[in-house]
C-alpha cells in the first residue's frame, strides 16, 4: 500500500509535508508551478519587506523630487508616469497570480518594521487571497539598554495584533536566539499563532577584504543546520499545541524524515531547491515514500512526532545529554573547532 503523505499544517490539509519555503523560487510564477508539479504541499512566497518598501518609496520620491521646480528650463527631470508601483502592489499581484495558478495552498510571508506596517500588509495579503500568513520576525536588537524580555514582549504583542486583524491561519517564523525558547513558543501560541516555523536564517554580515566593506550576505544552508530545528521541534511537539514546520538544512529525504519524526507537521525546503532545482522536491518525496513503505508505515500522520522528546526512548538526548555525547564522540581537538569534521 502506498503510504498516505498528507498532513495538516496551520489547519490546512496539505497533500504532502514538503513545503516550498520563501525563496526566489517562490517569487516566480514559473518556478512555483514547477515546485507544485514536483509535489510540494504548499508554497510560502518570499517576504514582503516593509522596510524595503518604505526605503524604496522614500528613495524614489527623493530622486523624482530632486531639483524639481528650481531651474527655469527644467521644472522636472522625469516624465510623470501614469501608474507605477513602489508599494506592495507588485507583491500582492504576485500573490494573486500564484493563488490563481496553483492548486496547493499559498502562504504569504511578511517582514514588517512598524506596527502599522505589519497590520496594513497582513490585511492586504489576506485580501489578496493568501491561504495563510507567515510572519517573518527578524530584528537585531543592538541597543544595550533593551533587555531580552522587552524584545519578547514586542514580538508577542505584534503577533497578538496581527492575529486580531486577520482571520486566515497565522504562522510565526522566528530565530532560535531566545534564552527560553520553549516558553517563548508558548507565549506565541497564546498570542494567537497557529504555527511556528523553526528557524529563521539571518542575513549575516561579511567583510570584503578587497574593499574593506561590510557586506551582508545570505549563504545557502547546509545539512548540519538541520539539527537545531530538529531539537526544538522534538521538544515542542506535544508541549505547545501549534503546528510546527521545520526549515533550514533540509537537503535530502533523510533530513525531511528526521524532522517529521521529531514532530514537524511540514518540512520546508529552499536551499536544496535553489541548488538543485524544483525537482529536488520529487526526490525528497520519493525517498520518504520508499522509507515509509519499506517499514510499513501507512501515513505521515502515523510517523509525525514519533521520535519527539515526549515519545522517544531517551528524552534527555534532546537536552543536555546531546551535548555531552557530541563532545566525547569527537576526536581530540576537532571538537574544539565546533564543527562537523566531515565538513557537511
Amino acid at each position: 500500500m502506498t503510504p498516505d503523505l498528507t498532513t495538516t499544517y496551520l489547519g490546512l490539509p496539505l497533500r504532502s509535508p514538503i513545503v516550498a519555503s520563501a525563496s526566489p523560487l517562490t517569487g516566480d510564477l514559473d518556478t512555483l508551478l514547477e515546485l507544485e508539479a514536483a509535489g510540494v504541499g504548499a508554497a510560502v512566497l518570499p517576504s514582503l519587506f516593509e522596510e524595503q518598501i518604505e526605503h524604496e518609496q522614500v528613495d524614489v520620491h527623493e530622486l523624482l523630487e530632486h531639483m524639481t521646480h528650481s531651474f527655469g528650463e527644467a521644472l522636472t527631470w522625469f516624465p510623470e508616469l501614469d501608474d507605477y508601483s513602489t508599494g506592495p502592489e507588485a507583491y500582492l499581484e504576485h500573490l494573486r497570480a500564484a493563488k490563481a495558478a496553483l492548486g496547493v495552498p499559498v502562504i504569504a510571508s511578511l517582514n514588517g518594521i512598524s506596527t502599522g506596517g505589519w497590520l496594513r500588509y497582513a490585511r492586504l495579503c489576506e485580501e489578496a487571497g493568501a491561504d495563510a500568513l507567515e510572519l517573518n520576525v527578524y530584528a537585531v536588537e543592538a541597543d544595550p539598554a533593551v533587555p531580552g524580555a522587552a524584545v519578547e514582549e514586542r514580538t508577542v504583542a505584534l503577533v497578538r495584533e496581527v492575529r486580531a486583524a486577520i482571520s486566515i491561519p497565522l504562522a510565526v517564523k522566528v530565530g532560535p536566539f531566545y534564552s527560553a525558547f520553549a516558553h517563548m513558543a508558548g507565549r506565541l501560541h497564546e498570542a494567537g499563532a497557529d504555527g511556528l516555523v523553526l528557524f529563521n536564517r539571518f542575513l549575516q554580515p561579511d567583510v570584503d577584504l578587497e574593499t574593506l566593506a561590510v557586506e551582508p550576505r545570505l549563504v545557502l544552508s547546509t545539512p548540519t543546520e538541520l539539527r537545531l530545528p530538529l531539537r526544538w521541534i522534538a521538544i515542542l511537539r506535544g508541549r505547545v499545541p501549534v503546528s510546527l514546520a521545520g526549515t533550514t538544512g533540509v537537503h535530502d529525504w533523510e533530513g525531511a524524515l528526521k524532522l517529521l519524526l521529531a514532530g514537524a507537521d511540514a518540512v520546508m525546503v529552499a536551499s536544496a531547491a535553489l541548488e538543485r532545482g524544483p525537482a529536488v522536491v520529487q526526490e525528497l518525496l520519493d525517498g520518504l515514500r520508499a522509507w515509509l513503505e519499506e517499514r510499513e508505515y501507512v501515513s505521515v500522520e502515523q510517523l509525525k512526532g514519533s521520535l519527539s522528546q515526549a515519545a522517544c526512548p531517551d528524552p534527555a538526548a534532546f537536552e543536555r545529554g546531546n551535548y555531552m555525547r557530541a563532545l566525547v564522540s569527537y576526536a581530540p581537538g576537532a571538537g574544539l573547532r565546533g564543527h562537523d569534521p566531515a565538513g557537511r
Binding site: M67, H69, S70, L75, P79, D82, T86, G87
Partner: protein, 1183 residues
C-alpha cells in the same frame, strides 16, 4: 461656464492643441518644452483627441525637423501641430513659408521668447514671433492663461476655415509658466468649434495615390508672381473668420474676444497699444488713471497678422489724440518697431486728422512691464513734446530714450492677497506653493495666480514664488510689489538678500530659523531688523528644518512652511486648510507610497506646534549688516556690474554699465562666494596617498592639489597642512590638498572617490565630509593662502597623467552646475591640460548655461592672464562654429608664415619649425613670438605692421568644440558629421548625459534602450546611436570613448591624444546626470558600473596606428564582469519602468543586455583588425 482649473499657459494651450490634432511633432526648447511634454505624456497614456483617436506624437531631431514632419503630415491629410519658441521658431521658418504658401490649415503654438543676439536669453519677448511675420502665417496673440486656452481653440478653428496656417503665441514664462485659475473648455467645445466638414475638406486636398496631384513645384519668372498673388482672397477673409470663431466661442463660454479689444475711458485722449501679457498690467494702470479722472485707454491686439486696419481704427475711441505703441521687441535700424509701424500705417491710410503716435520698446527678455511703466508711457503722451521713440523699464543713460517712472505708482487691487516666498530649489518651496494655489482656488473658491522666479544656477538654486489670491480673475501680470505675507524658507538668505523689500506695511513675515522665538531677533541682520520695525511687520518663526528632518523629509521644509502659511494667513479657515493640505499631499504624493505620505503628514501635524510669534523689540540691536555681494578688492567691473547682478539688483543697472557687444571678462565665478555646502571635505594628510583623484573628480574645482617647493610655505597660516610629495618625479617637493570652503557644494563626490582610509578606523578617509560651520574660518584662511602658492612650472609635469594633470591650475572653476555634475570634471580637466591655449566653441545646453549664464563665468585665467576664450553660438551649429575658429587660426598662421621670413628672416627657422608638442616647447615658442613682436614694434615696414597683430598665431592654439548629446547626436549631428569629415585639427568633446539635460531630461538619440525619459515615457524602445563607430568609419578621425569614474588614466590619455592628433578628434564622455535618477555623490561609482557591465565600453581609435601591422582600435575596458541589470537597477531612469510597466521593462532589459553583448563582440573583433596599408596622403598631412 466651464469647470475651473488652475493651470499654466503651456498646459492651457497644449490641452486644446492635443484635442485638435492627429500628428504632433515635438522638440524641447524653453519655455515651450512643457507643451511637448504634456502632449507626449497624454499620448503615452492613450488620452484621445476630440474625435476619440490618440494623436501620434513624435520627437524630432530639431525644430526644423519638427516643422518638416508637420508639413508632411499636413500634406498627407492630418491635423498637425507643434510647439516652439525663439531659435526653434527660426528653424521652422523655411517650412512655415511652404505650409502657408500651400494654404494648409495648421497651428504652431509659440511661447514667445527672446532670440539670441548679444546673448542668449531663455526669457520672453516677441523677437521670435516678429521674425515669423513674413512667413504668411496668421499671428494670434494671447495675453493671459485663460486666453492661451481660448485663443488656441480659435486658432485651430479659424485655420480650418481660412486655410491659412496660424501661429498662436503668448509670452514665454509670464504666460507660459504662470499658474492661473481659469474656466476650462471641454471636449464638446473643441468638437463644436472644429468643423468636421472642414476637416474632411482638408483631407480631400491631401496627397493621395487615389487622386494624384503634384504640389511643391518649381516655377519660373513667368508665373511665380501671379501664383503668389492668388492667395490674396484667403488672407482678406481671415479677420472675418477669426472674429466669427471668437463669437462662436463667446456663445458657448460667455468669454468675448475681438480682433482688437479696447478698455478704458470711452472718450480717451491718450491710448496705449500693445499685445501680450503686458495688457494685464497696463489695464490696471489705465483703470487706476481713469478712476483718477484721466481720459486714457488701452487697445490690446489679438490678431496681429493679418493686421485689420479697419477693425483697428474702429476700435480706437474717436477722441484719441495721442497713441503710444509698445513693442516687446527691438529692430535695430528700423524706423520703428513693427507694431508701431502697423499702427502708423493704419492711421495714415484712414486719413483725416492723425493722432500723434509714438513708439516704445519694453519688456525684452521678460523685463517686467508694471502698471507704473504703462502709466509712464501714458504720461509721456501727455507732454507737449513727447519723445517719438522711447524705452520703458530701464535706465538708458546712453541714448537717453528711457522714460522716468513713478516708483510709488501701485495698482495691486485691495481685495487681492499677495504673498512672496524665498526658498531653495532643494527645499520644495515652489512645489508646495503650486499646491497652495490649487488648494485655495479649489477649496476656497478664489482665483489664484502663481509666478515663480527660478535660478539659472542649478547647485544651490534659489527660488522666489509670487502668489496672489482674489475673488476675481487676477490680471496683475507682474511680480508682486506689495506683499501681505513674506516667507523666508532659508535663514541664510537674510544676510545675502533683501527679502523684505516687497513687504508692505503691517505684513506678516514667516521665517524658518534655527533659533527659538525669544532668541531669533539677535541673529537678524541690521537691515532686516530695521525693516521689521519701520514697516511694523509681524514676525513668526518656526524651525522647519528640524521638524522636516525629524519627520524624515530631509531638507524638504515645504510641507511644514506651507502649513504655517495657511495658519498665519487664514485665506481659508485653518482646519479646512490643513485638511486641504493633507488632501493635496495625498493627491500629489499618493503614487509615491504610504511612507512618503506618512512623513509629510507627520510634518503637517508637527508644524503648528513649532510656530511662534516673536515679540519684536522697539529698537534695532544688530550691529552686523548684510554682506556685500563681492569683496571690495574685486576688479571694477566685477564690483560695479557683477556685484549688483549677484545681489539681485541687475534691474537697476543703466545701459552704460553693460558691454555693447556681449563681451565679458572671464574668471568671475571666484567672486561669487555662495557658500552653499552644509558639509565640506577636510583633508587628513597622514593617510593621503597622493593619488589626486579628489581633485580630478571635483565638479566645481573646489578641492585642489598643489605640488610646490617647501619654501613656498613661508608665511603659511598656523596649521596649514602639507605633506611630502612621494612620487620620484619631483623629489623634495611638498603637496597640499585644499578645499575652497565657500565654493564647494558639498556634493561628496571627492570623498566617495578617495581610496585612502585609516588603518585604525576604516570609515575615516584621507578626506571626510564634515560640518562646514565648524571648519569654515580655518579653511577660508588656508584656501586664501593656498591660492598664493605659486603654480607649478608646467614644463616640470607630465600633463597626460592623472597626477600630472592635477598639479596644473584648473581654469574652469566654481560653476553653478548641479551638485555632483558629471560633465564639469571633464571641462575642468580640459583646462588643466590645455587651458592657456584653448578656444572653446560651446553648444547651447547645460554647459553653455553653467559656462556662460550671468552673473559670473567659471572660465578663468592664469596669473599670466591666459586662459580659455569661450563662446556659444547656437545649439545646432556648434561644430561648424568651432571649425570656423580653426579656419581663422589656420588662415592667420598661414599669413604669419608668409610674413616672418620677410620681417625677421633670422628668426624664421626657429619660429616656423618649432616643436610645440610639449609644455616646454610651447613656452619656448611663446618667448620667440614675444621677441618677434618686439621686433615688429621696432620696424616701420608694412609687413611688420601686418605681422604684429598676427604673430601670436604661431603659438599653437587648440580648438575644442564642446556640447551635450542633444547637440552631437541630434540637432547638430549634420554639422558634426561634416566637421569630422573636414580633416581639420579640431577636437569635439561630447558630454554625453544620454538626454537633453538642460531642458529637463528629454530623450535624444543617445538615450539608451529601456530608459524612461521625457518624450519616451514608456521606455525608449530603440538602441542608442553608436556615434563613436560612425566617426571612426571615416578612418582619419581620432575617437575616444571615456568615463572618468571608471578609468581616470584612460580619460586623461584620450583627451591628450585627441588634442595631439592633428586631424579631427571626437571624445565621447560618459556624464552622469540628475536626469538619470541617481544619488549624485555616487555618480563616479555609477560610471564604473557602466563600464564594468559593458554598458559603456571604453576605447580609443587612433588613425595614427592604422598602418602596417598595427591595431588602430584599442578596446580599453575589459569584458563585462557584471550583468547589465547591476547598472540599470541603480538608476531611476531604468528602474521606474520596471515599476510602471514590468513586462515592457523586462523585455527591453533583455534587449539592452543583448545590445551590450553584441557590441562587445563587435568591438573585440574590431580590436583584432590589423591595418595593412600605410595611411594615405591626406592622413599624413593631417598628422
Amino acid at each position: 461656464m466651464g469647470e475651473r482649473a488652475t493651470v499654466d499657459g503651456n498646459e492651457a494651450a497644449a490641452w486644446v492643441a492635443y484635442r485638435g490634432s492627429e500628428v504632433i511633432a515635438i522638440y524641447p526648447i524653453t519655455p515651450a518644452t512643457p507643451m511637448g511634454e504634456l502632449a507626449d505624456a497624454w499620448s503615452s497614456q492613450s488620452v484621445p483627441n476630440a474625435w476619440g483617436a490618440v494623436p501620434q506624437v513624435v520627437e524630432m531631431q530639431s525644430e526644423g525637423g519638427a516643422a518638416g514632419a508637420v508639413h508632411g503630415a499636413l500634406q498627407a491629410g492630418a491635423l498637425a501641430t507643434t510647439f516652439t519658441s525663439s531659435q526653434g521658431l527660426l528653424l521652422m521658418l523655411p517650412n512655415m513659408f511652404k505650409i502657408a504658401g500651400e494654404l494648409t490649415p495648421a497651428v504652431i503654438h509659440v511661447a514667445a521668447r527672446t532670440v539670441a543676439t548679444h546673448a542668449l536669453s531663455i526669457f520672453g519677448d516677441h523677437s521670435d514671433v516678429m521674425a515669423a511675420r513674413t512667413t504668411g502665417f496668421a499671428l494670434l496673440c494671447s495675453s493671459s492663461v485663460q486666453e492661451a486656452q481660448d485663443l488656441a481653440l480659435v486658432a485651430h478653428a479659424a485655420t480650418l476655415r481660412a486655410r491659412v496656417p496660424f501661429l498662436h503665441f503668448f509670452d514665454g514664462f509670464r504666460t507660459s509658466h504662470e499658474l492661473s485659475t481659469i474656466e476650462r473648455l471641454d471636449e464638446d467645445d473643441v468638437r463644436a468649434l472644429l468643423d468636421e466638414t472642414l476637416v474632411a475638406e482638408h483631407r480631400a486636398r491631401a496627397l493621395s495615390p487615389d487622386r494624384p496631384v503634384l504640389r511643391g513645384s518649381a516655377q519660373n519668372p513667368d508665373v511665380f508672381f501671379q501664383a503668389r498673388e492668388a492667395v490674396n482672397p484667403f488672407y482678406a477673409a481671415i479677420p472675418g473668420i477669426v472674429q466669427e470663431e471668437m463669437t462662436r466661442l463667446a456663445e458657448r463660454t460667455g468669454r468675448r474676444y475681438r480682433l482688437f479689444d479696447y478698455t478704458g475711458h470711452p472718450e480717451a485722449e491718450r491710448v496705449l497699444v500693445l499685445m501680450g501679457s503686458a495688457a494685464g498690467a497696463a489695464g490696471e494702470a489705465v483703470e487706476r488713471l481713469c478712476d483718477e479722472g484721466e481720459k486714457v485707454g488701452l487697445l490690446t491686439v489679438r490678431l496681429y497678422r493679418p493686421f485689420d486696419a479697419q477693425a483697428f481704427v474702429a476700435t480706437l475711441p474717436a477722441t484719441v489724440r495721442a497713441i503710444a505703441v509698445l513693442d516687446r521687441t527691438k529692430e535695430p535700424a528700423a524706423l520703428g518697431e513693427p507694431l508701431f509701424q502697423d499702427v502708423v500705417t493704419a492711421l495714415t491710410e484712414r486719413g483725416g486728422e492723425l493722432p500723434r503716435v509714438i513708439g516704445g520698446r519694453y519688456g525684452l527678455s521678460s523685463k517686467e512691464l508694471t502698471p507704473a511703466l504703462a502709466a509712464a508711457a501714458l504720461a509721456e503722451l501727455g507732454r507737449d513734446e513727447p519723445r517719438r521713440r522711447f524705452t520703458v523699464g530701464i535706465t538708458d543713460d546712453v541714448s537717453g530714450l528711457s522714460l522716468d517712472v513713478d516708483p510709488d505708482f501701485h495698482t495691486e487691487p485691495e481685495d487681492v492677497f499677495a504673498a512672496v516666498f524665498y526658498g531653495l530649489g532643494a527645499d520644495g518651496t515652489v512645489g508646495a506653493n503650486r499646491n497652495s494655489i490649487k488648494i485655495i482656488a479649489d477649496a476656497g473658491g478664489l482665483y489664484g495666480q502663481g509666478y515663480f522666479v527660478l535660478d539659472s544656477k542649478k547647485a544651490g538654486s534659489m527660488t522666489v514664488s509670487h502668489l496672489r489670491f482674489g475673488p476675481r480673475p487676477i490680471g496683475s501680470t507682474y511680480l508682486v510689489q506689495q506683499a501681505d505675507f513674506v516667507a523666508c524658507h532659508q535663514f541664510g538668505f537674510l544676510e545675502r538678500l533683501d527679502v523684505l523689500s516687497l513687504a508692505k506695511e503691517g505684513a506678516t513675515f514667516l521665517l524658518n530659523a534655527p533659533y527659538p522665538a525669544d532668541e531669533v531677533w539677535e541673529h537678524l541682520p541690521r537691515e532686516v531688523q530695521e525693516t521689521i520695525l519701520e514697516r511694523r511687520l509681524r514676525l513668526w518663526v518656526v524651525d522647519a528644518s528640524t521638524i522636516a528632518r525629524e519627520a524624515g523629509l530631509g531638507k524638504r521644509v515645504n510641507t511644514v512652511l506651507q502649513t504655517c502659511f495657511f495658519a498665519l494667513t487664514e485665506v481659508l479657515p485653518v482646519d479646512e486648510a490643513i485638511a486641504a493640505v493633507k488632501d493635496a499631499i495625498r493627491a500629489t504624493y499618493g503614487k509615491r507610497g504610504q511612507a512618503v505620505l506618512d512623513r509629510n503628514m507627520a510634518a503637517v501635524d508637527r508644524a503648528l506646534a513649532g510656530l511662534h510669534e516673536v515679540e519684536v523689540p522697539q529698537v534695532v540691536t544688530a550691529t552686523a549688516g548684510r554682506r556685500p555681494p563681492v569683496p571690495a578688492t574685486a576688479p571694477d567691473f566685477v564690483r560695479d556690474v557683477t556685484g549688483p547682478l549677484i545681489a539681485g539688483r541687475g534691474d537697476d543697472l543703466p545701459v552704460s554699465a553693460l558691454p555693447v557687444d556681449g563681451t565679458f571678462p572671464t574668471g568671475t565665478a571666484q567672486y561669487e562666494k555662495r557658500s552653499i555646502a552644509a558639509e565640506i571635505p577636510i583633508w587628513d594628510p597622514s593617510i593621503c596617498i597622493d593619488c589626486a583623484k579628489c581633485a580630478l573628480v571635483c565638479p566645481h574645482a573646489a578641492i585642489r592639489m598643489k605640488v610646490f617647493a617647501p619654501e613656498a610655505l613661508a608665511g603659511a597660516p598656523e596649521g596649514f597642512l602639507s605633506k611630502e610629495w612621494k612620487a620620484r618625479d619631483l623629489p623634495g617637493m611638498q603637496m597640499t590638498i585644499q578645499v575652497a570652503p565657500d565654493d564647494c557644494t558639498g556634493c561628496g563626490i571627492c570623498v566617495e572617490t578617495c581610496p585612502a582610509h585609516s588603518k585604525e578606523e576604516v570609515k575615516h578617509k584621507s578626506i571626510d565630509l564634515l560640518p562646514k560651520d565648524e571648519h569654515l574660518e580655518v579653511e577660508r584662511e588656508r584656501y586664501e593662502f593656498f591660492l598664493t602658492i605659486p603654480e607649478i612650472d608646467r614644463s616640470l609635469v607630465q600633463p597626460a597623467t592623472v597626477k600630472g594633470s592635477q598639479m596644473l591650475q584648473p581654469l574652469f572653476e566654481y560653476s553653478g552646475a548641479c551638485e555632483g555634475c558629471g560633465e564639469t570634471p571633464y571641462l575642468k580637466l580640459l583646462t588643466q591640460l590645455f587651458g592657456d591655449r584653448l578656444l572653446v566653441a560651446n553648444a547651447t545646453g547645460c554647459s553653455s548655461i553653467y559656462g556662460g549664464n550671468l552673473p559670473t563665468t567659471p572660465w578663468a585665467q592664469n596669473a599670466d592672464g591666459r586662459g580659455p576664450a569661450w563662446s556659444n553660438s547656437l545649439f545646432e551649429d556648434n561644430a561648424e562654429f568651432g571649425l570656423g575658429m580653426r579656419l581663422a587660426l589656420d588662415a592667420q598662421e598661414a599669413a604669419t608664415r608668409a610674413l616672418v621670413p620677410v620681417v625677421a628672416p633670422e628668426l624664421a627657422a626657429a619660429l616656423l619649425d618649432a616643436d610645440q608638442t610639449t609644455e616646454a616647447g610651447i613656452a619656448a615658442q611663446r618667448a620667440r613670438v614675444a621677441e618677434l613682436e618686439e621686433r615688429c614694434r621696432g620696424l616701420r615696414t608694412p609687413e611688420a605692421r601686418r605681422l604684429l597683430p598676427l604673430a601670436r598665431a604661431l603659438v599653437r592654439t587648440t580648438v575644442w568644440i564642446v556640447g551635450g548629446d542633444g547637440w552631437a547626436y541630434d540637432i547638430g549631428f549634420g554639422g558634426l558629421d561634416h566637421v569630422l569629415a573636414s580633416g581639420k585639427d579640431v577636437n569635439l568633446l561630447v558630454l554625453d548625459t544620454e538626454v537633453y539635460s538642460n531642458t529637463g531630461g528629454q530623450a535624444s538619440k543617445a538615450t539608451p534602450r529601456a530608459a524612461v525619459a521625457k518624450f519616451a515615457a514608456g521606455g525608449k524602445r530603440t538602441r542608442k546611436k553608436d556615434l563613436g563607430m560612425i566617426a571612426s568609419a571615416y578612418g582619419d578621425v581620432y575617437v575616444g570613448q571615456i568615463a572618468m569614474g571608471a578609468d581616470n588614466p584612460q580619460t586623461v590619455k584620450a583627451l591628450a591624444e585627441a588634442d595631439a592628433y592633428a586631424g579631427p578628434s571626437l571624445v565621447i564622455a560618459y556624464s552622469h546626470c540628475i536626469a538619470h535618477g541617481i544619488e549624485m555623490k555616487k555618480g563616479m561609482e555609477q560610471q564604473k558600473l557602466a563600464v564594468d557591465t559593458g554598458y559603456w565600453p571604453l576605447y580609443r581609435y587612433d588613425p595614427r596606428h592604422a598602418s602596417a601591422g598595427e591595431h588602430p582600435f584599442h578596446l580599453d575596458s575589459r569584458a563585462p564582469k557584471l550583468p547589465l541589470s547591476e547598472f540599470m537597477s541603480r538608476e531611476a531612469r531604468f528602474a521606474m519602468l520596471g515599476r510602471a510597466q514590468p513586462e515592457t521593462a523586462a523585455e527591453l532589459a533583455e534587449l539592452a543586455q543583448r545590445d551590450v553583448d553584441e557590441r562587445r563582440l563587435v568591438y573585440e573583433q574590431l580590436a583584432e583588425i590589423e591595418h595593412e596599408h600605410a595611411p594615405d596622403e591626406s592622413e599624413e598631412e593631417a598628422e
